[in-house]
Symmetry: C2
Subunit: 225 residues, 2 copies
């Protein structure tokens, strides 16, 4: 979501990560949710507030940003195809989370290491290659703009693929090195997206949170191979 | 997806489940995917073909059916809210699957029973109540049409909630009996949706596939309590 806002050059405030001294942070986020809570209570972060709209679920937020900031085609076919790719990236990201939390998100990783090791093997050997292979087919099937998943312009699906590949490279550096060797278009897509001026500026800024072991993409060396 | 098509009274063909003698079944599905495969290769079923459109990912298919068959509001806020609820139901359904396959979808349930038992406990005690509690809050917060998640008309989110509750009741009858006692609006929503004439007809027809132990919702008594 942050990548989409940055790529669009949108003016936004990251409420949850702001300082309480500035009237931001978790209390401000709670107030914002309470205010809108009557009409549409929220299930889980992230949320986007845009004027009177309050939207939850990453893929729904991106669906909106795609229309609002021209990060998706306008045609029905192009719009749905972009969202379809997004939902498949969402599935991949969910699976990346479940690798370190296969039994329960309420337990520590340390309390589910046996199942995590099994799931990691399956994820590296079968699931990542299946997803990356699909992205490679999409990019290879294009006759032009092979560094974009949909059409010739950047879409939110490109940004999400960038983020997913970045996260997977952080979490599974050895496996991803191997897998990306067999997926040159996905690797080229990642490089091309990283070189866009607004993305370069964002990645170098303090607004970009480094990957860490509290997030979705976690580097536990024992889960990589 | 079938429920949405049935509720809309749409004319559709279930290609994968049709007879090969009628030119349907898996070979016909493969041909259909090959035909469209150049432009947009597909990752996993289900797929909807509507004229020249080929759409994958349940939530994207429903987004389209919502617009095409008036199973969602037209306003931006209503459209996004319906999709947001759908994506949360999708998450619930994915978790229901991962209960019996916490380690790998490529292994049999019998080969991951230990992790499945742990995940089932977490799912019954923490996750289902969290999801059902959220649906209950949405329905309770409405001033009218409390048997509809969004506005006064039936949406695809209503049909998906119906299907999810139906599946959970099949898979976890004991836990769901308990949980639905604490969520009277969700229970009433389920009954009201089941009573719609087109849904009654569909549920009684051969087009409705009974829940079974090859699907997402599986009844393994040892995972219920």
């Amino acid at each position: 979501v942050r990548l989409a806002l940055e790529a669009a050059g949108a003016d936004y405030i990251d409420v949850a990560r702001g300082a309480q001294a500035d009237g931001l942070g978790v209390p401000a986020l709670r107030a914002l949710l309470r205010e809108a809570g009557g009409f549409n209570p929220q299930f889980a972060p992230p949320f986007l507030k845009d004027g009177r709209l309050l939207i939850g679920q990453t893929a729904a937020i991106l669906l909106h940003l795609g229309e609002r900031h021209r990060l998706a085609p306008k045609s029905t076919a192009g719009r749905l195809w972009t969202q379809q790719i997004q939902l498949t990236i969402t599935d991949l990201v969910d699976e990346a989370h479940d690798v370190h939390h296969p039994v329960s998100s309420a337990l520590y990783y340390e309390d589910q290491k046996v199942a995590a090791a099994q799931r990691a093997t399956d994820f590296r050997q079968r699931r990542i290659p299946k997803y990356v292979g699909w992205f490679e087919r999409i990019l290879s099937g294009k006759t032009k703009a092979k560094h974009r998943l949909v059409g010739a312009r950047l879409t939110y699906a490109d940004l999400s693929l960038f983020q997913a590949v970045d996260g997977l490279r952080y979490a599974f550096p050895r496996a991803m090195k191997r897998i990306l060797k067999g997926a040159p278009q996905v690797a080229a897509h990642h490089r091309a997206t990283a070189e866009r001026p607004r993305i370069v500026a964002y990645l170098a800024s303090e607004r970009r949170l480094p990957f860490n072991e509290n997030g979705v993409f976690r580097h536990y060396p024992e889960l990589d191979a």
